[in-house]
Symmetry: C2
């Protein structure tokens, strides 16, 4: 029997307890041992819940109990999760977490501590909910140099953009709708401003390129500026707007990373990732294009990924599972130099088509959705050039990056 402790009895924590109950027999078979939840830590009480018998309010009960071999941290946030996790590792316990903030900020350090002590620090559930992506990056794509990871990594924003597209809603209505269904928080900024996606692409990039990618370095733009009119233009182009979290490596220039809305067409493997689903596209230099798709959030899918990590930790007592992620910092390419095509809207009465054409050399005109506007797609230009040209455009209404290849 292997004793574990669950820190946090919220949605995911209760899901972990539930999954261990539902599939206990097959999990025991795969782990080679019965997994027993010895403690649940939470500051709250849960009267009538069977876990009341094992509920503790003091983390030291768990940290000081040598019988606890694996600590499952599903509280979220940096504090006190970071100190609990670090202390658990220092006391010889392997740790499994779903906490993307913790992993993005302190992953390299916690991996190092685990490695020194022949323990494991596992975090499959921190990105893509139930989708297996961390372990495939670590153990399956080992013959490849990764050259691109692009994900739809946030279910809330994908739901909002899907509703705006399918039901012609404006942003505020779609957000309200997501909040009513519990897909968005009352304070939705971490999702809609792209911060959640930013942490997740930082984790994936660190694992893919083997160096620390600091999430603070990643240019991040949310979906709050996307309007129902933008969506109409996208439809006129047979395109969709998705919140992409990308990192791309080229031999010449290095790695750039960015979270931003992107216009894509049906040829892109992520085009049909809708609603609250997530999708992660990976390109390797020999494997070519692959894509992983599934529930990016939700109680049971996320708990499934947490429990799979518990099984892996149980199978690897005394043996650290190697990852390529080192604490050496990866300096990202300056955002100014990154090149995209841009979909642009401007007011007709402020610009002539000739002026626009002479500014961008070559444009692809987009069928009009609003009679008072010109809409067009620029050639491939750098972010810096785009910024400069924006200044010169009178009546600039907005722009969205485009990936139509």
């Amino acid at each position: 029997m292997i004793n574990i402790a669950v820190l946090g009895y919220g949605t995911i924590g209760s899901g972990v307890v539930e999954v261990l109950k539902i599939n206990g027999d097959s999990i025991e078979k795969r782990a080679g041992n019965k997994i027993n939840v010895k403690y649940v830590l939470d500051i709250r009480e849960f009267p009538g819940d069977p876990i009341m018998d094992i509920l503790v309010h003091d983390v030291n009960v768990i940290l000081d109990d040598p019988e606890v071999k694996i600590v499952v941290e599903v509280m979220g946030g940096i504090n006190p999760a970071y100190s609990f996790v670090k202390e658990a590792l220092l006391k010889g316990k392997s740790v499994v977490t779903s906490n993307k903030e913790l992993v993005a900020k302190h992953g390299a350090e916690l991996l190092d501590i685990a490695k020194e002590r022949n323990l494991n620090f596992l975090f499959e559930a921190s990105v893509g909910g139930g989708i297996p992506i961390i372990r495939p990056l670590n153990n399956s794509l080992t013959a490849d140099e990764i050259v691109e990871i692009t994900g739809i990594l946030n279910g809330t924003t994908n739901y909002i953009l899907t509703k705006m597209t399918e039901e012609n809603l404006d942003f505020d209505t779609a957000l309200k709708n997501a909040q009513d269904l519990g897909y968005a928080e009352r304070d939705p900024s971490a999702d809609i401003e792209g911060h959640d996606s930013c942490r997740k692409i930082a984790i994936l990039s660190s694992l893919a390129y083997g160096m620390q990618v600091d999430f603070e370095d990643i240019y991040t733009e949310g979906i709050t500026k996307i309007t129902d009119i933008d969506i109409q233009y996208a439809k006129a182009l047979d395109a969709k707007i998705k919140l992409f979290a990308s990192s791309i490596r080229s031999d010449d220039e290095g790695v750039f990373a960015m979270v931003a809305p992107m216009m894509i067409k049906a040829e892109h493997p992520l085009y049909s990732v809708n609603d609250v689903f997530n999708g992660i596209f990976v390109k390797g230099n020999v494997i070519g294009d692959i894509m992983f798709y599934g529930s990016g959030a939700g109680k049971l899918p996320t708990a499934s990924a947490v429990v799979a990590d518990v099984v892996d930790a149980a199978k690897h007592f005394g043996k650290n599972i190697w990852t390529i992620w080192s604490s050496k910092k990866l300096e990202l390419v300056e955002i100014d130099k990154v090149r995209h095509r841009f979909f642009v809207r401007v007011l007709k009465n402020k610009n002539s088509l000739n002026e626009i054409k002479s500014l961008f050399a070559e444009i692809e005109e987009v069928p009009n959705v609003i009679p008072e506007e010109y809409a067009f797609i620029t050639p491939l230009i750098s972010e810096k050039e785009m910024e400069e040209k924006k200044e010169k455009l009178e009546g600039f209404l907005g722009s969205i990056r485009v990936r139509f290849d």
Copy 2:
């Protein structure tokens, strides 16, 4: 340094040598050791090719060399691959293979031999080419009971069906096209009759349900009966026809498995898997729906999967990687009992709509593509019922199973 031998210098074998060369440095880092190809076995000569220096024609040179720790079997076919692989394991070498026929037929036995000797028998490349699916089933989906695996597992048939759909080609022209491009063999029967998909779903099912699924037990129907008229009907329904390889488990009835063309709509995660790409949909009882997508064949993607297995074997010397696949035979549900909806075409002059309606109780009429035909979709009925009703339909032209949920 770890010495390996490659059995077979065809497309995949030469790909393996190439991948080890292109990405040698990062592979060494991940494997913890340099991977050295000490021998290549082939009956042919390759004048001018650098591998001539290490080419051997006698497998015993490899089997008798204790320095060879991993044998890579990429010859294909059962004989002599089976005896070479078995002998290699018996001589204490781990084996990596891309050979779906070998794995489907002898996988359980070879896994047992590897297990007894603390070796590994790995076969990621046998299903889905470069797509990581074997390792995720084994190591990532360990918290779940798998309830369904459905794959588009054969690139050739997917290419033919895609061309029939996108370019309105008939079957023979699309097949010819695939042969000209090297996507289909001169004798294409293993692909177009579904035998290739059948072996692959047998492997995935054995791994998912933990018992031996014999490929001979799986009902298998290819795409040779699909006509350009069927494709036109599918388009009229906003649907596509895909060759599905499925196994589905229900608590009441057990597992059924089937390879057959299926009509699906855009809601299905495999709808946008086109051309030579493969996609594998997995449903777990807690993780929900996930999907893996990528190149199902091709020299470098397949070689990438083979080399990833070599890395895994190198990291697990003396330690068998556990799989759930046991040699105990899984008795599949009789095909007669399996239920689907069916798209059906009949000659108008032989049947009245009333007769059809009274035969099926309830039908969904399909807009006419051919004026002389009735086309409709049946309610959910068993294969046996469908067979019986077919007999009663005069001028029956064909049927295709439908999954519109």
